[in-house]
């Protein structure tokens, strides 16, 4: 038994071939030269960060984006070499890379495996090509099939597929079709969440500014011909958002179809076959510490939250042999005990098994009831929470109105003492 602390690494690749219309991640199109320069700089960050985490063992790595698979695969090899050189990576660590089916994966996948990557996350979103186009995706369902087969052939035994429901104009039938097609392929893991309208995205500009709610508005029709279409389909052709009930029906369908197919729903929007839950993501919901590397990446280390520089030019100018790391991390927020408790609850309750009272006591030295007794009682009475044994979990209804339930765990200042 060694005594190293466990750490998760998130590595951000901010490039993509084309911005999806709903996407508000830090990602953009950039020319090859810039991408290469960025990867050089990213390796410098990795090499200068590692020594600060000598007492840590990296248990999971997630290379996300943007579209990491857009890069020449050798870049990923170099990246992984730098990580292994700089950090102590655990034997059997879960190492995931995100890939877009539209980025010619067949040649790249074996290189990833050789670099030590053992989990692949494929962004499909929908099996309906019309819907893919509507989302601004660069690939078809057929591209995805090809990518999935290549991954299996190359030897990936742990594959996740990302799906999105409540796409404007999507029917329940179409969503069912997507789910069935994906189940057929038997990926180890499926992430399925609803479309979220984010401000600053093309969807946000179109739907939010036309007065429809956050992915929830009844289908009363956006005013056609107004707003900002970013030069894509004429806006008059953008279908209406789905109504609240349709959206919910899709979620219930997702759960039942996937459970039926042997997937365990272990978090609000994540499903896995036995033994294939995503350790990296579970870490986020259970308060594990993680270090974000690269442009705009978030970290939670030593009880501190911080976020990397998010301007590419500024990031590229950092000199990691000098004060680059200091410059990189802007404002550092020290989590108070109150915030830690709140997050323990509102993140932990996303997990299907919920939170463990024992774990709360272990973490904070007080019983969860002495802090949240009233709230837990109220929410249980309202049928939103269920306590079985030592675990406290959301009920189906609790999931439906999760923002309300989770917000109840925010404490008034001073009330944790």
């Amino acid at each position: 038994m060694d005594h190293k602390k466990s750490l998760e690494l998130y590595i951000h690749i901010p490039f993509c071939a084309q911005k999806c219309l709903y996407c508000d991640f830090l990602s953009f199109e950039a020319e090859k030269r810039l991408q290469v320069e960025y990867m050089d700089q990213l390796r410098s960050e990795i090499l200068s960060s590692g020594p600060w985490y000598e007492d840590c063992r990296v248990e999971t790595i997630f290379i996300g984006g943007g579209t990491p698979s857009l890069l020449e695969p050798e870049q990923i090899t170099l990246l992984m070499q730098a990580v292994k050189k700089s950090f102590s990576v655990a034997e059997g660590a879960e190492i995931t890379i995100e890939a877009n089916p539209g980025t010619r994966l067949s040649k790249k996948l074996p290189v990833y495996l050789a670099a030590g990557i053992n989990r692949l996350s494929l962004g499909l979103q929908s099996a309906n090509n019309e819907e893919l186009k509507r989302l601004g995706r660069i690939h078809t369902f057929e591209d995805f099939l090809k990518g999935f087969q290549s991954a299996r052939m190359a030897g990936f035994t742990n594959i996740n597929v990302d799906l999105m429901s409540a796409i404007p104009g999507q029917s329940l039938e179409s969503w069912k079709n997507t789910l069935k097609k994906v189940i057929m392929l038997k990926p180890e893991h499926i992430s399925a969440y609803s479309l979220i309208l984010e401000e600053g995205t093309a969807f946000g500009r179109h739907y939010l500014e036309n007065g429809q709610g956050n992915g929830q508005a009844a289908a009363q029709g956006a005013d056609p011909g107004q707003g900002d279409g970013a030069g894509l389909d004429p806006l008059s052709q953008w279908p209406d958002l789905l109504g609240e009930e349709e959206e919910r029906q899709m979620y219930y369908l997702t759960r039942s179809l996937l459970e039926e197919a042997g997937y365990h729903s272990y978090e609000i929007s994540n499903y896995a076959r036995s033994g294939f839950t995503c350790r990296h993501n579970i870490g986020y919901w259970t308060g594990k510490e993680y270090l974000g590397i690269g442009l705009g990446a978030s970290s939670y280390v030593n009880g501190r939250r911080f976020c990397n520089e998010s301007d590419l030019d500024q990031y590229q100018k950092l000199d990691f042999s000098l004060d680059g790391l200091e410059q990189l991390h802007g404002e550092i927020h020290v989590q108070s005990r109150k915030e830690q408790m709140e997050e323990f609850m509102f993140l932990g309750l996303r997990m299907t098994e919920g939170i463990s009272a024992a774990a709360f006591t272990r973490e904070f030295g007080v019983h969860v009831d002495s802090i949240y007794g009233d709230v837990l009682r109220k929410l249980t009475e309202e049928g939103l929470l269920v306590r079985n044994g030592r675990y406290i979990a959301l009920t189906q209804w609790g999931i439906d109105v999760s923002n309300y339930v989770l917000s109840e765990f925010l404490l008034e200042t001073g009330s944790e003492d």
Partner: protein, 604 residues
């Protein structure tokens, strides 16, 4: 300044319809008479309070004394008494007028005579004041002074062909007004050696001096040490100081004698002792009878005021007490509401007065308030012969005990351009108005006379009037008396529970419509809960309207990874923040603004 003879004193006021330039003219007069240099002038000196400045209206009577050297070479004392400019303060206006000997009537050269112009002129004539007109705003492109002069002569019957044509804004021709004041307003009369008889026309509380009484000495004289008595309230005190009004300051002097306007302080602690309209006399040498016209000011409009944060109840009480020091017409007493907790039932002269108090509490005392629907005083006659003056709808006895009820009625005069007469008549009908008649002022303008129930005009009538006449209608009213009426209490039930703070009294014929609109409005205001919430309007236990707030909207199933955690926190904080300004009624949370929004049902 000693020994100014009565013949060189002019006590006058300026009367006008709102916005016709009364305060501006007052400023110019003060400026021209040299009490202040132009540099010292702030615009509209007489309006002291922030709210007065912002709203451009005068709430409390203000008075200033200036010295004018006239064309005849003599010095004259001008006591300019600025009167409140709103129908809510009619009684204060009448007392201010009673302190004057004459009035300058300001008429807008473009708009001509308006409802308040008439009301004010009639009131001034009632007080035997000599009124002379001044036509203001002749610098406006739309000014038509000749037409307005004719209108004044035709409608009011005042000589107007030689009325000064001025622009108070630019100062043009204001000198002519000063001369006219000397020429046309009579000097005061009154025997200096007679027993003291002084009219209180305003008072003010000063933390150091106590109550400062603003008065016009009609007979006799008063000086430091005089033992005085308020004839109506019976309060007695020894005079500490007398003086007159500089611009924004009090200037002590030796004595005030018949014909002058000034102030008295006598270490009086409560403005209630110095009611406007009361007569001050010498306790040792009292006059035989008080001045006519005193009446106790009564509240016309009542509402509940509650602190948004119930812990602020004592602060609200302190603030009301402080405001009352200066405002004898503000009434309040503690009350409790199941919905809103501890608060006060407050009485006001009118809706503007209510709004001003509310605004001052919020602004000057930093209080967050929840206001219940304003109502009037109803007379409830019970079958057992008992008579109740009802100010809070919650106190209405069971309908089976009620014989009948009466409500206050006003006579209203509405001046409107002829094209909108139809629209305004419709409005008055909707508000249960009884048509009394119509007079044409000239071809394009008419004066509509209606009797209207006070409870139909206390909240949004004025707004509705303005919007249906594109801003051109003006309005004035007088309390006429009480009239028997079919009144019912409209109750609002939220999730089957009656919310007392939302109940109000309404005419039986309007109950259904009001109930329906209340339910619609509340449906918009009450956020979705975990369960469906019925909102019902009921009269005497019978449901007359219903709406439903649907159960809580389901949340989008968002992902939440490392970079999303801070955002998720913000989202949840926002969700929680929304709940802070809520009132718990049973198991339903009602936002505070819902209590107020139901007051404005006439949004078109």
């Amino acid at each position: 300044m000693a020994n100014i003879e009565q013949k060189n004193i002019r006590n006058f006021c300026i009367i006008a319809h709102v916005d016709h330039g009364k305060s501006t003219l007052a400023d110019r007069i003060i400026e021209k008479t040299g009490l202040l240099t132009q540099r010292e002038m702030q615009d509209q000196i007489l309006d002291n309070m922030d709210i007065e400045r912002e709203r451009g209206i005068t709430i409390k009577a203000q008075t200033v004394r200036t010295v004018y050297t006239a064309a005849d070479g003599q010095e004259y004392i001008f006591n300019l008494i600025d009167t409140p400019g709103h129908v809510d303060f009619n009684y204060e206006v009448s007392r201010s007028l009673a302190a004057c000997d004459g009035a300058v009537l300001v008429v807008d050269a473009a708009q001509g005579i308006e409802a308040q112009t008439l009301a004010n002129v009639y009131m001034a004539l009632d007080h035997d004041l000599d009124v002379f007109p001044v036509i203001n705003k002749i610098d406006l492109p739309s000014a038509d002074p000749e037409r307005v002069a004719e209108e004044i002569e035709d409608v009011i019957g005042l000589e107007a062909h030689d009325a000064p044509r001025i622009s108070a804004k630019t100062g043009l021709n204001v000198d002519a007004v000063l001369e006219a004041i000397v020429q046309k307003i009579p000097a005061p009369k009154g025997e200096k050696e007679a027993p003291l008889k002084a009219l209180i026309f305003d008072s003010l509380y000063d933390p150091y001096k106590g109550v400062i009484i603003f008065c016009r000495i009609k007979e006799g004289r008063v000086e430091k040490g005089t033992s005085i008595r308020m004839m109506a309230t019976g309060a007695e005190a020894d005079v500490v100081e007398v003086g007159y009004f500089g611009a924004g300051q009090f200037i002590p002097c030796e004595e005030l004698s018949a014909g002058t306007v000034g102030y008295i302080t006598a270490s009086i602690k409560n403005v209630k002792d110095t009611q406007v309209g009361d007569t001050v006399t010498d306790r040792m040498n009292p006059c035989d009878a008080p001045l006519p016209g005193y009446k106790k000011v009564t509240s016309m409009v009542y509402c509940g005021l509650y602190p948004a944060d119930s812990a602020k109840y004592p602060d609200l009480r302190d603030a009301l007490e402080k405001l009352q020091l200066n405002d004898a017409s503000l009434f309040f007493e503690p009350e409790t509401s199941l919905a809103l907790g501890f608060g006060f039932r407050c009485g006001f002269l009118g809706l503007l007065h209510l709004e001003i108090i509310q605004e001052r509490l919020e602004r000057e005392y930093n209080l967050d308030l929840v206001t219940t629907a304003p109502g009037v005083i109803y007379h409830v006659f019970k079958k057992n012969g008992e008579r109740i003056e009802l100010t809070n709808p919650s106190n209405l006895p069971d309908p089976s005990e009620i014989d009948y009820m009466e409500e206050p009625i006003v006579s209203a005069e509405i001046m409107v351009t002829t094209e909108f007469v139809g629209a305004i008549m419709t409005l008055c009908q909707e508000r249960r108005g009884v048509y009394l008649g119509m007079e044409y002022m000239e071809e394009t303008r008419a004066l509509l006379k209606y009797e209207l129930p006070l409870n139909e005009i206390i909240y949004d009538f004025f707004d509705a009037l303005k919007s249906r006449s594109r801003g051109y209608a003006s309005f004035d009213y007088d309390l006429k008396g009480y009239q028997r009426s079919e009144l019912v209490k409209l109750d609002i039930l939220v999730n089957k529970e009656e919310v007392d703070a939302l109940s109000f009294i309404v005419h039986a014929a309007s109950a259904y419509e009001r109930g329906r609109r209340m339910c619609e409005k509340l449906k918009e205001e009450i956020p979705r809960h975990l369960f469906e919430i019925p909102i019902q309007a009921a009269v005497g236990g019978k449901i007359i309207a219903r709406e439903t707030v649907k159960a809580m909207r389901k949340d989008v199933l968002a992902k939440c990874y490392g970079g999303d955690i801070s955002r998720k926190r913000k989202l949840l904080e926002k969700q929680k923040e929304g709940k802070k300004r809520m009132r718990q009624i049973g198991n339903v949370e009602i936002p505070q603004k819902a209590f107020m929004s139901v007051l404005k049902l006439d949004d078109e």
